[in-house]
Symmetry: C2
Subunit: 298 residues, 2 copies
């Protein structure tokens, strides 16, 4: 059985009724499973995690976009996470028995549909990008919604699909394809944002910037400074190396990690490496884990 | 879907052809899956891990017993692990949507069949035990095969099924039901067995003897002293607490853990607690792990 993941980031993390409607109406799409919704009040952002195939995910994203346009206004959005649209970014992820190529084609098809059906400018990014300067979603998003009125006029930033004019309430959207990643929020036991930035820079330096992204995204509900980390290549950089680096760097500043939040979906494979490390497991075979075994026999 | 585990321990860990035949002929039983076979040369013992339902596991155990009687002679067995029979112990384990009660009934049915069909004395143990002194398989096994000629004559040790006479080549067998456990071998970086015993005693003391069993079982292939640990209640005693205790106690003796081998099957749930501990995960939801999620939707 082949499985594609889709992890839209929505610029709404506060209004429970809107998040609930987005969840219930998209999860009702045949063939799609909504595995997780993680909302963050401070970031005012929600991460939806779907799995499905090309057809069902296409339908779910269409539905998501439609409801988001009805319920969210980017001009009224404020939050700690940078954003350029109400549905800020839509990555497709090859999870099992699926090529990256297929996810790239799906991103193009869905991007085209969003541009044509909703009149929202679409930028293809990641493996689906049409130019090297558009690969990183951070580069695409630079200037955020407010800056796009001008940015979109630059030939370099002509959208891949849709009008060459920012949608008044929906902004613009990035649609792309990328490998599975591990997204975590590292919460520190201090509200000190400059100190958090120092630790964040240290993480990027010590873990190798090409394998992860890290960004201080403000304070959590308890007031603790929050570093959002995405590990882009868990085989080269297992998650425990990031957590250990953060722990060490925090200690050096007289601080500590308060807790680590896993955001969205991960594959078991991306966690087993850390388990092996900490427990010093030798000759560990994932098939010894009942659920892993069962999931492989479908 | 309901799933029962069955984890027979066979007193043969060296002859590859015998282990292969036991594996291939039992895994061919309809409705059974053989998930893992872990053999240990020094212990001269193999642990088979099956999953299935009451009917299919009954058939697999019958087949296993039959082949073992044809191929293994307990009077010729020598190894580091104590044993009383060629199929030393047959535990049934409720893994999913199955009551312990059902596993107890299955143990009784299978025990009766082994006693009657093969003329091998059977002791019910664990949750299936017919008396308190028979709950622990270590107590049942005390004296090993060599001691059973006399032990079996004691009224206290009258078998639950089968003849009141040890089978000449198969010995006796314990059949029972127990909760899922985590079995690991902790290999030290030293061949020093008395030192390993000190560490083993320390583990038992510091982790609470009611939640685990621990036993020095000799040296591994590389010559390292090996402590076999079974965690009986991973909710009360997560595996990382055992490993950390072993690490600390070894360090105090100027030694270290060389590696930890996971033996047989575990449930993801029994590992997640350790992952949460080491990575300081907060609000972790197992459903965020793709394979765990998929395995639940069957």
């Amino acid at each position: 059985m082949s499985i594609i993941g889709c992890v839209p980031n929505i610029s709404e993390g506060r209004r429970a009724d809107v998040i609930r409607r987005l969840s219930s109406e998209t999860s009702a799409v045949r063939g799609v499973r909504l595995l997780d919704v993680t909302s963050d009040r401070e970031q005012n952002r929600s991460v939806f995690t779907f799995i499905g195939n090309t057809a069902s995910l296409g339908r779910a994203v269409y539905r998501l976009m439609k409801i988001a346009i009805e319920t969210i206004d980017i001009t009224r959005h404020s939050g700690k996470h940078p954003r350029m649209g109400i549905v800020d970014v839509i990555p497709f992820v090859p999870l099992r028995n699926v090529s990256m190529e297929l996810c790239v084609r799906l991103a193009r098809r869905v991007g085209k549909e969003i541009g044509e059906s909703f009149g929202v400018p679409v930028y293809l990014y990641g493996q689906a990008a049409t130019a090297p300067h558009r690969v990183s979603v951070n580069d695409v998003r630079e200037g955020e919604f407010e800056g796009f009125a001008r940015k979109i006029k630059l030939p370099k930033w002509k959208p891949d699909f849709g009008p060459e004019r920012v949608h008044a309430t929906a902004g613009v959207v990035a649609v792309g394809a990328r490998p599975p990643l591990i997204a975590v929020n590292i919460n520190l036991d201090t509200p000190d944002l400059p100190l958090a930035r120092k630790i964040c820079d240290g993480i990027l330096r010590s873990c190798g910037g090409e394998y992860l992204k890290a960004l201080v995204v403000g304070r959590g509900t308890g007031g603790s400074a929050k570093i959002a980390v995405s590990v882009l290549d868990f085989k080269r950089l297992p998650i425990h190396r990031v957590v250990e680096a953060a722990r060490r760097l925090a200690r050096r500043q007289g601080a500590a990690i308060e807790g680590v939040e896993l955001v969205g979906l991960v594959t078991a494979e991306s966690l087993f490496g850390s388990l092996e490390h900490y427990l010093q497991l030798v000759d560990f075979n994932p098939m010894q884990v009942l659920e892993f075994h069962l999931s492989r026999r479908r």
